[in-house]
């Protein structure tokens, strides 16, 4: 029996397609289904060309095949509005849900910070926060693992072309969700998130600034070591994740300036913000697969 877990992707848009391309290289996850709602959509067409089974009947079109195709994990790249229903239906059949929408029904997952804990607990729904969260929360955590952080602030700057209509319609959700995860996962007592959309051409690469205010005087050496180690952890799944400047210290302020270049699979390289979401989502599913293969977790039983 193959160690790979079989997967379905819901939402054949930019994110779903990029995820599919990354998944085809994975040693742990095998893409089987792409789920859409429009039979004529480019995304479903692309998936068919890549020999992936498709349905245009939404998640309901996938449900009858879950057991026969042994689908174990699903990635939801649709919208917060439909995620809850998608998740409920698939969880009932024992499918682990990786949520790339801002719905955040399940716990936030930022792989190098808390993924292994989620995998060991066999969380059936994990949420990937936001692109800005994936790019910055590892840095907040790198500081808070050394000493208490009173306040964590992140500023994500993304190219206009890489921000879709869903995010634009509800940009507050980005700031709210990211700030929550800066606290909840990053370990800051209080979190703040800012997003800036830049329309420059050629498009700017995603960049992120992270400011932490530590409770006591920052231990410069320990924090610098921790930050560099964390950058390496993220680079394992996002090779284009770079610390451009910092950590710099100014009183109790610790600041890091990051740049995120994507792999350029389906999404262009400047769209590091989208790439880090798909890469983190896939990394999450892979960890579940690794834990299942090693026997440390038991996937829901199937007849």
């Amino acid at each position: 029996m193959s160690k790979k877990l079989k997967a379905a992707i819901i939402g054949p848009g930019n994110i779903g397609t990029d995820l599919l391309m990354k998944m085809q290289r994975s040693e742990w996850i095998e893409p089987v289904w792409m789920v859409g709602i429009d039979p004529e959509s480019e995304g479903l067409k692309r998936a068919r060309e890549m020999d992936i089974k498709t349905t245009a009947d939404g998640v309901d079109g996938l449900l009858p095949h879950v057991l026969e195709d042994d689908i174990r994990v699903a990635f939801d790249a649709t919208s917060a509005y439909v995620h809850a229903e998608n998740s409920r239906k698939l969880n009932e059949l024992g499918v682990i849900m990786v949520d790339l929408t801002p719905a955040a029904i399940g716990p936030f997952c930022v792989p190098p910070v808390n993924l292994s804990a989620h995998a060991k607990n066999l969380e059936m729904n994990v949420n990937m926060v936001t692109c800005g969260g994936q790019a910055t929360i590892p840095m907040v955590a790198a500081v808070s693992q050394v000493q208490p952080v009173e306040y964590g602030e992140i500023i994500a700057t993304v190219s206009s072309r890489s921000v879709g209509p869903g995010t634009r319609k509800n940009i507050d959700e980005f700031t709210r969700t990211t700030a929550g995860a800066v606290e909840n996962v990053g370990g800051a007592q209080k979190g703040k998130a800012i997003i800036i959309i830049n329309p420059a051409e050629p498009p700017v690469m995603m960049r992120d600034t992270v400011h932490c205010l530590t409770v006591s005087e920052p231990d410069q050496q320990a924090i610098t070591t921790s930050v560099h180690a964390m950058v390496k952890e993220v680079q394992k799944y996002v090779p284009g994740y770079r610390l451009v400047n910092g950590p710099i210290f100014d009183g109790n302020r610790v600041s890091m300036f990051m740049e995120v270049e994507g792999l350029g699979d389906f999404l262009p390289k400047y769209a590091g913000n989208l790439d880090i979401m798909t890469a983190a989502g896939l990394r999450t599913a892979e960890m579940f697969a690794e834990e299942a293969a090693s026997g440390s977790i038991q996937l829901p039983a199937r007849g």
Binding site: D172, T175, R176, V204
Partner: protein, 342 residues
């Protein structure tokens, strides 16, 4: 230019844009002192918030002396006739901030986006309009795109519910012809019940000239700031503008001597530095860079030894937009490294 008999609503920025020049440290007493002075002078609308709008309190933009809520609660009950507006930049502030401002008695909400990104304002403009507030769309850095693009984006804001749209010269880069073209097109193409506004900066010394061009082209609201207190070389100095409008026969409803006194006796004494077109403010206007970057670039110059002018020109070259203050220290570090300074 004949503006005789025209009417314009002036809108004071000293307690919001002026917060940039004061590093957001204006005291509650100073706010009340200036706002009541303006009220007595007949200023119809006064903006009060963190320089970067509601929720701007941050490491990135600066922590203010007091919260937006504290400022609004201090100022609004003291005003007899003037109304108060609040700025909100989606991506920084949220609808929660908007509701708070409304509960404090804010009359006018101004939702600001970069001039190409109006579609991030839908939820905020929509809610403000639904709450029947005076709802303004504010297109920043409007010098970076064509008049047609500004119009396209303005139409989105109107569609979401804005009853007034601003063409905003955040960098103080525009010359009068550009103002005429952009305001003129907006006036020509938008429904007559939608007002057009202009917000200028004085970085090329064009604050007054541009504002006059805006009125001639159809702007019904013009922003300025008493004593010019604002980011960069400041906004159009309102006491000067009032004198000019008075001579040109434009109705503002403002008492010229009273606003002159507010400028001289209340605002100038609290300035941390003279608000003037110094070398760096001039660079902002010349290179088309967001005005509030000024003090950040000057601080980076002190800290890393790279000239503020070099930093600002490079920021302009990279197409930075409003809110990207974090780029300044990042860029200064990179330039200092390249030059072997650190």
């Amino acid at each position: 230019m004949n503006l005789n008999g025209k009417k314009v609503t002036l809108h004071d920025m000293s307690l919001r844009d002026g917060m940039h020049a004061k590093r957001h440290q204006i005291s509650l007493e100073q706010m009340v002192d200036i706002a009541t002075g303006l009220d007595e002078a007949g200023m119809p609308l006064i903006e009060v918030t963190h320089g970067d709008g509601l929720g701007g309190s941050s490491v990135n933009y600066g922590f203010p002396a007091h919260s937006d809520e504290a400022y609004l609660n201090a100022v609004i009950p003291k005003l007899k006739n003037a109304k108060v507006s609040a700025l909100l930049l989606p991506g920084i502030g949220t609808v929660e901030h908007l509701k708070m401002a409304r509960d404090c008695g804010v009359n006018t909400i101004r939702v600001a986006t970069h001039c190409t990104e109006a579609d991030v304002s839908e939820q905020h403009i929509g809610l403000a309009a639904k709450m029947e507030m005076d709802t303004v769309g504010f297109l920043m850095m409007a010098h970076m795109v064509s008049a047609e693009k500004v119009l396209e984006q303005a139409k989105l804001m109107v569609e979401y519910g804005a009853n007034c749209v601003y063409c905003t010269d955040s960098a103080g880069y525009m010359l009068p012809d550009e103002v005429s073209t952009k305001i003129g097109l907006l006036r020509q193409e938008l429904p007559t019940n939608v007002e057009i506004g202009f917000h200028g900066h004085h970085n090329l010394g064009m604050g007054i000239a541009n504002s006059l061009a805006a009125i001639e082209a159809g702007a019904a609201r013009v922003d300025g700031s008493v004593a010019g207190l604002g980011a960069g070389a400041g906004n159009t100095p309102l006491e000067v503008f009032c004198a000019v409008l008075d001579r040109m026969g434009v109705e503002t409803g403002i008492d010229l001597y009273k606003i002159m006194d507010v400028a001289e006796d209340r605002v100038v004494p609290m300035m941390d530095q003279p608000i003037r077109v110094d070398r760096d403010a001039l660079t902002l206007g010349y290179a088309g860079v967001y005005s509030s970057f000024l003090l950040f670039a000057q601080r980076a110059e002190k800290k890393y030894g790279v000239q503020a002018r070099d930093i600002l020109v490079e920021l302009g070259r990279r197409g930075t937009v409003g809110g990207q203050e974090d780029m300044i220290e990042d860029l200064a570090l990179t330039l200092a490294k390249d030059r072997g300074l650190i």
